[in-house]
């Protein structure tokens, strides 16, 4: 069965300060054939990583020490120094409130993924975010 997305060629950056969760996400992505996965533990390190190497999509934790996920998304989208203003972004949060989802989308995220994260939900969000343009997601 052919796919529209070349999953094995996909480069994913995970920005997550919990090493259990980032290791689990890496393991889950591997089962979809995605082996090119970078991990950054802070917003600042994520920006450095994106300067060093492009990514096709970023999974960013909402709550992190220092620059939080929403601030990182705003920087990537709007700062003139941003290495990748158009990178597709999924914000991950343990807070399933509508207010947090709104804040994530207002910051510029394409999609929101609520923790705990099921692999099936992660794959669905990845596919949706990569296949459906942001303007369609926002409507």
């Amino acid at each position: 069965m052919t796919t529209r997305i070349d999953w094995p060629a996909l480069k994913v950056l995970i920005v997550e300060d919990n090493h259990h969760l980032s290791a689990l996400l890496r393991m889950v992505l591997k089962t979809a054939g995605i082996v090119n996965v970078g991990i950054a533990t802070t917003g600042e390190r994520a920006i450095e990583a994106l300067w060093r190497s492009r990514a096709d999509i970023a999974l960013i934790d909402f709550y992190m020490d220092g620059m939080d996920g929403a601030a990182l998304v705003r920087y990537l989208r709007r700062d003139p120094q941003s290495p990748c203003p158009d990178i597709p972004i999924i914000l991950m949060t343990g807070d399933d409130s509508a207010k947090t989802a709104r804040a994530a989308l207002d910051a510029g995220a394409d999609n929101v993924l609520v923790k705990p994260i099921a692999p099936s939900a992660l794959f669905a969000r990845l596919a949706r975010t990569l296949l459906v343009p942001r303007m369609a997601n926002a409507s």
Partner: protein
């Protein structure tokens, strides 16, 4: 220190099945570390959801092959899958109802028993029968663990958030 160290003795001789089992052992060890490290419910829950999804994906793969045989041993095998699915679904439901009160220890015990008992006996029997049939082996080997084409179709149909 992992709860279960992968051992070649677990291998049933079919690469895709062995890889699935290796993944499940990896998740069991992640769960064990999360419990011992007193990780919060988003971490324990994510490992629990992963175990539930991959057990489901793995059973789908095995059951496609099982359907090719008319053997009472294999009917029992499917019933064992059903019992395991139910156990994990119950644990997921308990977690969703009260994540802060969730006790993951029974899940660790269930998965540990499953891996050293079911895999070593029932799956070895399945592998013995499957290896005798090229058609059956092809079904097991050709089917991806995660059907990304189906996930893409669902996403295009509007599922997957956004």
């Amino acid at each position: 220190m992992p709860l279960v160290k992968w051992d070649p003795v677990f291998e049933v001789g079919i690469a895709t099945i062995d890889n699935d089992h290796r993944l499940l052992v990896g998740l069991l060890n992640e769960l064990s570390e999360a419990i011992d490290g007193a990780e919060d419910s988003t971490v324990v829950g994510s490992v629990l959801f992963a175990l539930a999804d991959y057990v489901r994906y793995h059973f789908i793969r095995e059951e496609r092959a099982l359907k090719m045989f008319d053997d009472p041993t294999l009917t029992r095998h499917t019933a064992m899958h059903e019992a395991m699915r139910k156990k994990i679904e119950d644990l997921v439901a308990k977690f969703i109802a009260e994540p802060a009160q969730f006790d993951p220890t029974p899940l660790r015990t269930t998965m540990h028993t499953w891996i050293v008992d079911h895999v070593m006996r029932a799956d070895r029997e399945l592998a013995r029968l499957a290896c005798a049939s090229d058609e059956c082996l092809a079904i097991i080997e050709d089917q991806p663990l995660v059907d990304m084409a189906a996930i893409e179709r669902a996403a295009m149909a509007g599922e997957g958030g956004g």
